[in-house]
């Protein structure tokens, strides 16, 4: 079985499980919705918030939603014992990792699309070009969240207190991505002076770096 096919099978399995019982995704979605509503209420007084505050509010919600959605990528396998079965299977471990990242990416994209829609309804919307730039930033950031989240989940496979460990490792790793995404969002809101092309290229490089790091690292972590 080649790498892409294995990755597709793993991704399809994770996504079908999430579709059958969308416990994690619905919890993350509800968390994101509640966070946006709380932010809208918190920013209701004192006139219109600045673009920097609006961009910051959006990315606070997206980062924590990404963290919650991706850093328990191996949670189900650890709980039902399927992880050990995966280890003894002949499937390439790198391919399994890629499959996990694909599933996390699709889930994160769907959640982010829903949260962006609510954000635009609750707060100001940029013009069409700005909205396209914002959407591009969110898609590329979702790739980064998926790559880092699954990697962090793999690192904590044998650890005690995995649920606490995930955010501890995820957030520092996500900081460069957040810096670029927030700067790009400010450009989208016509409030920043960053170079959009450079920032988009940076996000692509970030995604590629952590995808490759995960592909190289997971076989080292998935030991008996």
């Amino acid at each position: 079985m080649n790498v892409l096919r294995t990755a597709g099978v793993v991704a399809a399995h994770d996504l079908s499980r999430e579709l059958r019982r969308p416990v994690a995704a619905s919890a993350v979605l509800l968390f994101g919705v509640c966070s946006l509503v709380v932010l809208r209420l918190a920013l209701a007084g004192g006139g219109k918030p600045s673009s920097a505050v609006l961009a910051g509010a959006l990315w606070v919600v997206l980062v924590f939603a990404g963290l919650l959605g991706t850093s328990r990528a191996w949670g189900a396998e650890r709980e039902d014992g399927a992880y050990d079965a995966l280890l003894v299977s002949p499937a390439s471990r790198s391919a399994i990792h890629v499959g996990k990242v694909l599933a996390a990416l699709v889930t994160t994209l769907v959640l982010d699309a829903a949260l962006l829609g609510l954000y635009l309804a609750l707060f100001d919307s940029p013009d069409a070009a700005g909205l396209a730039l914002l959407a591009a930033a969110i898609v590329l950031a979702a790739g980064g969240f998926a790559a880092v989240g699954v990697l962090v989940s793999g690192l904590g496979l044998r650890a005690r207190g995995r649920d606490l460990l995930g955010p501890t490792m995820f957030l520092p790793l996500a900081i460069p991505l957040v810096i670029a995404a927030v700067t790009l969002s400010l450009v989208a809101f016509d409030a920043g002076t960053g170079n959009a092309t450079q920032l988009l290229l940076f996000l692509i490089a970030y995604d590629a770096t952590f995808l490759v790091a995960g592909i190289a690292a997971f076989p080292e972590l998935a030991t008996d």
């Binding site: 460990l165 490792m169 900081i175 810096i179 080292e220």
Partner: protein, 250 residues
């Protein structure tokens, strides 16, 4: 660099750097204020702050390199050296944050500038490596812990350039950029002091790293010998004599 040479260099050059920074290197003129020339005394911190930051990166790089060697050869002494690299890097990282705050207070009038992304990125790296301890000590001692620690220490190598690239292409940089290719703001004595500082703190980093690794490896060997003595605690899973298996506290 041999351990003895590193010790001699550290003992001689670290105090020399401090003396040269404060008594030899010239101070930049800021400009006339009320008819009197004002000098940039905050610049003195540069000769200590930047070499310490470079020493911190050297230690983190040593941690990552030994992590790579551990993954390739699976020898426990590489795991100890990787841990010691990160540990020494954290010590220097703490000093970087402290000296950076002193610089910020002298230059900007505030201990910390939240708008400065370069400071924030170093804080991020510091938190990243702080999480190394949480990861390492939440996994039982053994191969799984060593491998996870090695992979994590190597990830820092990816995070450092990405972090600096992110702040370079973001637009609100206010951290003073002293070393640039377009404008050389350092004079000869300044370069001399800075160069001596870099060698001094790099030597200190090497000494700290080697001392800690040697101590931990010696403790591990002693621990193994105790396990093997008649009447000692029997541990059928314990490491073989002479190996460098690390005790749980390492």
């Amino acid at each position: 660099m041999s351990p003895r040479l590193a010790v001699v260099l550290a003992l001689v050059l670290v105090p020399l750097t401090v003396v040269l920074a404060f008594f030899w290197a010239p101070t930049n003129e800021i400009g006339l204020v009320g008819g009197e020339m004002q000098y940039d005394f905050a610049q003195k911190v540069f000769y200590i702050h930047v070499p310490i930051a470079l020493a911190a990166y050297l230690c983190f790089a040593a941690g990552a390199w030994n992590g790579v060697l551990y993954l390739l050869k699976e020898r426990d002494d590489y795991d100890v050296r990787s841990y010691c690299g990160v540990h020494s890097g954290m010590v220097f990282g703490t000093l970087v944050l402290l000296t950076g705050s002193i610089w910020a207070k002298a230059a900007w009038g505030t201990w910390w500038q939240w708008g400065d992304r370069q400071l924030l990125v170093f804080l991020t790296l510091y938190l990243f490596y702080a999480a190394y301890y949480v990861l390492r000590f939440s996994i039982d001692a053994g191969r799984a812990r060593n491998r996870a620690s090695a992979v994590y220490s190597i990830l820092g190598v990816a995070l450092v350039p990405l972090s600096f690239l992110a702040i370079r292409i973001a637009d609100t940089l206010i951290h003073p950029i002293v070393l640039t290719t377009s404008e050389n703001r350092l004079t000869g004595p300044m370069w001399g002091t800075f160069g001596i500082g870099v060698v001094a703190f790099a030597s200190l980093a090497i000494v700290m790293l080697q001392l800690e690794a040697a101590g931990k490896l010696r403790a591990a060997r002693g621990w193994c010998a105790d396990e093997e003595r008649p009447g000692g605690a029997a541990d059928v899973d314990g490491p073989a004599a002479g190996s460098a298996e690390v005790p749980a506290h390492a």
